[in-house]
C-alpha cells in the first residue's frame, strides 16, 4: 500500500519519512494535490512498464488465428433483461 504525503510534509519531516521508508513503507508525493513522485525503499525494484509485463500476451496475440467474444459484454447482455422489457 502507498501512503500519500504532500511535498510540504516531505520538506518538513524528511527524517521521519526516511525512517518510515527504511521500515518498508512507500509514499506517493503530492504537489498541489497532484501525484508527482513515488518513493520506495532502496531495495525495491521499480515497477516494470506494461510492455514488459505483457510480453507473453503480445507474443500470443501475434499467433492468434481467431478471436473470442468479450465474456463481460456477453454476460451483461444476457443478464440485463430489465432493459429489454422496455
Amino acid at each position: 500500500m502507498i501512503t500519500d504525503i504532500t511535498s510540504k510534509t516531505l520538506h518538513e519531516k524528511t527524517g521521519q519519512v526516511l525512517d518510515r521508508l527504511r521500515r518498508g513503507e512507500r509514499f506517493r508525493v503530492l504537489r498541489d494535490g497532484e501525484p508527482e513522485a513515488l518513493m520506495v525503499p532502496v531495495e525495491e525494484t521499480i515497477d516494470p512498464e506494461w510492455p514488459e509485463i505483457m510480453a507473453e500476451v503480445l507474443a500470443a496475440r501475434k499467433q492468434a488465428k481467431s478471436v473470442r467474444e468479450n465474456p463481460i459484454l456477453k454476460e451483461r447482455k444476457a443478464r440485463n433483461y430489465a432493459a429489454r422489457l422496455r
Partner: protein, 159 residues
C-alpha cells in the same frame, strides 16, 4: 502516467490475447501508458472471468500477466478510497438518478459510481470501456470516456 478507470470489459481485453477488443485496447495502452484503477469488485470480476478462460495456453498467458500486474504498485493501482459498501451506496444513488434513462446493468452502475467517486476525490484522467451502454452512463456522469469499438468484424470463430 495518466490514471485510467478501465472497466472489466476493457481490462479483460487487455490481458486476453484472443479477446475481440484485445488489439484496440492494447494500442491505446501502448500509446498512453496508463496506470489502471484497481479495487475489490473490479479485481473480483476480472479474476473470475480470467479464471474461467484458463482452458488453453492463451488463458494461462492472460492469467500470468494479470498476476504480474497485480504485483506492481503502480500499473494496477489499488484504491483505498474505494470500499465496496460505500461504492454500492453510491451506485444505488446513481441508479436512483439514472436507471430509467439508461440501459446499463447493475454492474455497470457500480463501475461508473466508483470512477465518479475517484474523479471527485483525486482526479481521474479517463474511463475506458468496450460497452456502449456503460460508456453512455459514464459520460452522463461527467467522466471523460474512451469507448473501444471493433475496427473490423472479428476473424473466424467466435465462441
Amino acid at each position: 502516467m495518466p490514471l485510467v478507470y478501465a472497466d472489466t470489459s476493457a481490462l479483460f481485453a487487455f490481458f486476453h490475447p484472443r479477446d475481440e477488443f484485445s488489439q484496440v485496447v492494447t494500442d491505446a495502452v501502448l500509446q498512453s501508458a496508463p496506470d489502471f484503477v484497481y479495487w475489490s469488485f473490479l479485481r473480483y470480476e476480472l479474476r473470475h472471468n480470467l479464471r474461467q478462460s484458463r482452458t488453453d495456453s492463451d488463458g494461462e498467458v492472460a492469467w500470468k500477466a494479470l498476476r504480474a500486474g497485480e504485483r506492481t504498485h503502480a500499473r494496477l493501482r489499488w484504491q483505498t478510497d474505494l470500499r465496496a459498501e460505500s461504492v454500492i451506496e453510491a451506485a444505488d444513488e446513481l441508479s436512483a438518478q439514472s436507471a430509467l434513462a439508461s440501459k446499463a446493468g447493475s454492474a455497470d452502475f457500480l463501475h461508473v459510481a466508483a470512477a465518479r467517486r475517484l474523479h471527485l476525490l483525486s482526479g481521474l484522467d479517463e474511463f475506458w470501456t468496450c460497452d456502449a451502454e456503460q460508456g453512455a452512463l459514464a459520460s452522463a456522469a461527467g467522466l471523460k470516456v474512451r469507448r473501444f469499438e471493433l475496427k473490423t468484424p472479428p476473424r473466424a470463430s467466435r465462441r
